[in-house]
Amino acid sequence: MTSLRALRFCGPPEPWRRRKLPGAFAAWLVVAGSAFAQGLPSEPVSIAGGRVVLGGEAAVSVAPPDPGYFNYTDYEHNTLREIRLGLTASVRASSRLAFLGEVRTENFNRVSPFALYARVRPFPARRLDIQIGRIPPTFGAFTRRAYGHDNPLIGYPLAYQYLTSLRADAVPASADELLRMRARGWQPSYSIGNPAPAPGLPLVTAFNWDTGVQVSTGWRAIDVTGAVTNGSASNPRVSDDNAGKQIAVRAAITPVTGLVVGSSFARGQFLSRRVLSIVNSGHDDRFVQRAHGVDLEYSRDHWLVRADAVLSQWRLPEFSSPPTHGTLTAFAGSVEGRYTFLPGAYAAARLEHLTFDRVAGPTLTATWDAPVSRVEVGGGYYLQRNVVARLSYQHNTRSGGRITRDGLMAAQLLYWF
């Protein structure tokens, strides 16, 4: 009789498999990822018999400089060049009450409470939840999908990230002044309100959560959520700065497994108290942001396809001639897809366009901000279940500004538990 090994238990259960990826940096990512994730938790940390659960995410993204400011966020950070750390926690007090929160830091600048709220389910057997505090966005689907592993690419959709030239704390006195700020959403400045340059507003932000009360319910394949919050879709706030509230509603239907169609609406006063005081209106319900959104997700086998459209309208006060046209409109649409072509390896692409309505100035009639198109293609390779190395190439074109086109190669290492 000869003894032979039946089953070898050597090495980690999910081994590192190293393959050649384009570029030395990708190779570095794989090696660094291997070292990085070893010894770190691979599943959420459960304490007190599951009453307290901790999760986390760490993302390191590198890319060349983005002189056109195509990827800057309202935190003045470039989404392609940042280190983002997040820690999430849920504390289940009872079957009816839980507390959830998240703290984040970007580039170690500061640690901020991204989310902090109580979730109440008054009737545990019924689909009725009330969330109070700094709550998840009601509008759209991407805003709640902004976590790295839910986003197949490194960049973010224009509708939820790209900074327009509008601000909440400063407004242009005329259409001419507005048009001068085209393609300068990273730091526009206006004569009314806060004169200091500061970042503009995206259509809907995915980087800041609003504060208020949210109610969700559902019946069979339909889910409905409504919320009353302090800020607006483009400018969520912890504390109210204009005595106006936002009302947001979302309805989603899942007609068949794998298909989700959602529709969202939000309406909220977005100008700050400082601007409103100049308009002689401490509380003026006219100067609101209205956002309408439609989103779709379909997945099957190894495919995932998403489409998203956002129409946003901001109403501005009119000070001098020519006026700023009263209501400024922006529209963003995107289509993205992901295909898993090998276990642990996928390719993804997103096409999108952001455009604005036209405003007539003294010498120029043009869109009030410069339209932007973006194509991003990339892929990811899972070094282990919760560590993915990604590469993507993003091409931006803009009909205005100092830099009208830019191609950016980015790499990212993402870990979560």
Partner: protein, 219 residues
């Protein structure tokens, strides 16, 4: 008379040749004292509502197997077909022990998609997303451990242990196990539980066969 004696001898010889060789049975109990909690969902901070109820994985089961086995055991390959359900966001059973060459079906019994995959060295696969009532299968050809996950529900995980021989057993709900038809010899026997070998023993199956009792403690 000589012919009769000769025929008798031939008969006895043939009978002796056809008689099965004595084999033994290994049985006992695995006392799992370590507590392995079922994986938790990630904190659903971005969710709009409380997640629905789910089942918890049965993490009490262990696998007892011969770490060394007779040479011929590795050549016995009986094609088998087993099943690992996806039910209430849980793989059932949580641990499956199979021989190499076995095909495992992964039917989806939930109202949501699941996406079964593994990045294990032994078997790397991704079954994609499929709905309730559909099933996809994987053939496990190489011995080793395969960790199985769902790409959509991160708390869903399971083990498939693929053996090169048939001398293994998954414990019952009370921890008992039984491995039959083991040829006489001295073997290293291992008790595996939730990702690793927790206890090993060396024991002998006597030449005349019989039952050998061996208990294990998993701490």
């Amino acid at each position: 008379m000589r012919l009769l004696i000769a025929m008798s001898l031939v008969t006895v010889t043939l009978t002796a040749a056809q008689a099965p060789a004595p084999t033994g049975t290994l049985r006992g109990r695995v006392d799992v004292r370590r507590v392995v909690a079922s994986a938790e969902r990630r904190p659903g901070v971005a969710d709009l509502a409380t997640a629905g109820p789910r089942d918890l994985s049965d993490t009490r089961r262990a696998v007892v197997y011969l770490d060394t086995a007779p040479r011929g055991a590795f050549e016995e390959r009986e094609p088998a077909r087993l099943r690992m359900d996806q039910r209430n966001e849980t793989f059932v059973p949580h641990t499956l022990a199979v021989t190499a060459g076995t095909t495992v079906d992964f039917p989806n019994n939930d109202g949501t998609y699941h996406n079964v995959f593994s990045l294990s060295k032994t078997k790397r696969f991704d079954l994609g997303r499929y709905a309730r009532g559909h099933s996809k299968s994987v053939r496990f050809d190489r011995p080793g451990i395969v960790r199985v996950f769902c790409d959509i529900h991160s708390h869903m995980n399971a083990f498939v242990l693929v053996f090169g021989h048939r001398y293994f057993a998954l414990t019952d709900t009370d921890g008992s196990y039984r491995i039959d038809n083991i040829p006489p010899g001295t073997y290293a026997v291992a008790a595996w539980h939730e990702g690793g070998v927790r206890d090993t023993r060396t024991l002998a199956i006597p030449s005349q066969g019989g039952v050998v009792e061996q208990d294990f403690v998993v701490r």
